[in-house]
Symmetry: C2
Subunit: 420 residues, 2 copies
């Protein structure tokens, strides 16, 4: 048997142990993990220093190097996040429906863990602790396949998590870190459809496409967010301006930042000049359609590529539209099923927008930046699904479980004539 | 563009039209479909006669030929089933949770259709109408890829469904029947990950494995059911006997029939002789472990292959176990995650069984034969998922939808300092 299959099968056995844990035990386990991360602080920071050194030697710098960096404060933050996950409501065992059928059968829908979750991610070592904690809290075992830049940090973090698992007599394979980071090994992992219940890729589009193309296990994708703000004819312009500035400038590098502004032609002459001024003051580059460029100066022409782009930067595409229908058509064509916002005072327009737009999150008069598990009340988030299956939008602990059926009877049979 | 991609993209456009339909329109559409099936009865039966003739000429006979056959009564049954689906509660628009966050944001979880569902199935032409009706009732468009034996019947049925779609000005591509039944075309279909939201294969294990191996779209598998009945030390023996006879003999060819009986050693000497007699009277062949064979005559020895088998026939594997733990271990090793039954009077044993067994349906003192959407209150069923993701166990209309987020605010921004 290949090494990766052996590791995965051990993780599957550990999933069986995780399946049976009660809420209190899981909470204690996570608290012990947080404590172990703090106790093994020096080891983890030393390992991280080694990763940083190697990354710098390979020419990595700027934001990417920063994402890799751990320090005392960040490590304390990681431990804190694990404790916060321990405080979440336990989704396992939740009875979501209970019916008594005419024949007396009592049918319950009860949430159980998925089983084995494979997380495929890139440079950020905090994901190692975060994702493991959230998977474990939902009663799963987890296989972690991080980026090579963070390998030493990830090994040190996993080792702290293992110490806590050992303390509770749970197989350490419940948190399995893959250290063989060759692509072919990842492909092999992604094909273990008899072992892995779900793969979650988190990172750039290249990684996600690679996982989607090679997987034979179920994948929940977290693709790009090409988020739109549509300013309707009846919008409160100052409200819309606030949503625009927050959506584009408060953190342009994340998936719930705005990428395109659509403005109804009736408000464009009044709204666009104010919008452009506010954005340009904040260093935003604007790319507009002809009609918007006729209304304000200083915009480059926008191409279809601009409308399809996730800039992740201080760039915004702009388009004036004739009406709500044209705004919807634009989003249907260029959208990424992530998050769309309508600014309007017209309830019927808001309803039409929601009925036509199939994105995971639709906001009415609120900033796209709230499209995040923490902000929407999920507590913690393992990612934002743009796959319209199982979970759609921000995924919390509950999205790492599934409903099954528990049926209680007192001897009911389907064909009473078979009764003896 | 390839022909299959063109067809699928038209279906995706139709999905957009389906997305916006209200409940009443969908119900009327389904009633018109049922009426069209009745009106076009002669055309459908003529087409079916052609399929039957060709199948007979190719040597198909027995149960398989019977599954292909339509007659007036069966066609009336199909129309009736479509009307029953029209009467189901509409899962679309269902608000499953509503919270108001401290910042005033109102967050709702609302069910929306998945989009485009590809059904891959075999000889039974009733699936063409059933699956289409259930997918449409949940607001989806559907691509149907049936078996070649039923092609003429399927074309005639789809044509009746199209007449109803036209009456409602919905693109007929909302029900797209694939008539090019080459394997390579199916593979191409299964790779259209930008178009198809879910593929559901229904049929033999070979078909399901083929789909799972070639798909790049999400697949919910409906594998075999190796269902177990465990008779615990405290079981009511006459109750257990009823569950056994119903589970094995009431319809042995279906996935929720029992395949293996596990008996606690304390009750085996009393229970097994009665069980064997009742089953043998009904023509069931028994294959047992050494301990069970020592207790009763007339059993062949059981092999590991027998314990792993979905017999779909009047054959039962039998094993005497030392205790609940050994029964659980057996099911963990040989089970198929479908349906398991425990007969017991001991609540704690029932609880331990549920906590250790991760199958989609767990029955306490009820027949495995109830593991079916209709019997468990779902109304209609598109299949029984053994994939522990999205839906697990019998899938009804609701399993053809997904929850998304609707957020209503009055100008909330994430970083108030970006407020103008």
């Amino acid at each position: 048997m290949s090494e990766i299959r052996t590791l995965a099968l051990a993780c599957k056995d550990a999933a069986q142990a995780m399946f049976a844990l009660d809420t209190e035990t899981k909470r204690k386990l996570l608290h012990d993990m947080a404590a172990a991360l703090e106790e093994q602080r020096d080891t983890i920071l030393t390992a991280n220093a080694r990763d940083l050194q190697q990354a710098a030697a390979r020419g990595i710098q700027g934001a990417m190097l920063d994402r890799l960096r751990l320090d005392e404060a960040r490590l304390a933050g990681i431990a804190k996040a694990v404790r916060e996950i321990a405080a979440l409501p336990d989704p396992v065992g939740l009875v979501t429906r209970r019916d008594t059928l005419p024949n007396g059968l009592e049918v319950e829908r009860v949430r159980i863990p998925l089983g084995v979750i494979a997380m495929i991610y890139e440079a950020r070592p905090n994901v190692t602790a975060d994702a493991a904690a959230l998977c474990l809290m939902a009663g799963n075992a987890v296989i972690l396949r991080g980026g090579s830049e963070a390998l030493h940090s990830n090994v040190a973090i996993a080792s702290a998590l293992h110490a806590a698992l050992e303390k509770h007599d749970i197989p350490t394979a419940a948190v399995t870190l893959i250290e063989d980071l060759r692509r072919e090994t990842m492909v092999e992992l992604l094909q273990l459809s008899d072992v892995i219940d779900l793969a979650i890729p988190r990172g750039g589009e290249g990684l996600i496409r690679f996982v989607a193309e090679h997987a034979r296990v179920p994948v929940i994708k977290h693709y790009k967010g090409v988020c739109h703000l549509y300013v309707d004819a009846t919008a409160d312009e100052s409200l819309a301006l606030n949503l625009l500035v927050d959506g584009k400038t408060s953190r342009p590098g994340v998936c719930n930042a705005l990428e395109t502004l659509l403005v109804h032609r009736d408000v464009a002459p009044s709204f666009l000049p104010k919008a452009v001024q506010a954005l340009q003051e904040r260093g935003v580059e604007l790319r507009g359609c002809e009609r918007s460029r006729a209304l304000v100066d200083g915009m480059r022409p926008a191409t279809d590529d601009d409308y399809a782009a996730e800039f992740l930067d201080l760039i915004l595409a702009v388009r004036v539209v004739d009406d709500l229908g044209m705004a919807i058509g634009h989003i249907q064509r260029f959208g990424s099923d992530h998050t769309e916002v309508i600014a309007t005072r017209d309830d019927q327009a808001a309803r039409r927008f929601m009925q036509a737009i199939r994105s995971a999150v639709v906001m009415v008069n609120a900033s796209s930046r709230f499209s995040d598990g923490g902000e929407l009340g999920l507590g913690a988030e393992i990612g934002i699904s743009t796959t319209r299956l199982h979970a759609y939008g921000p995924m919390g602990a509950e999205a790492l479980t599934v409903e099954r059926f528990i049926v209680r009877g007192d001897g009911q049979v389907r064909h009473p004539q078979s009764r003896l």
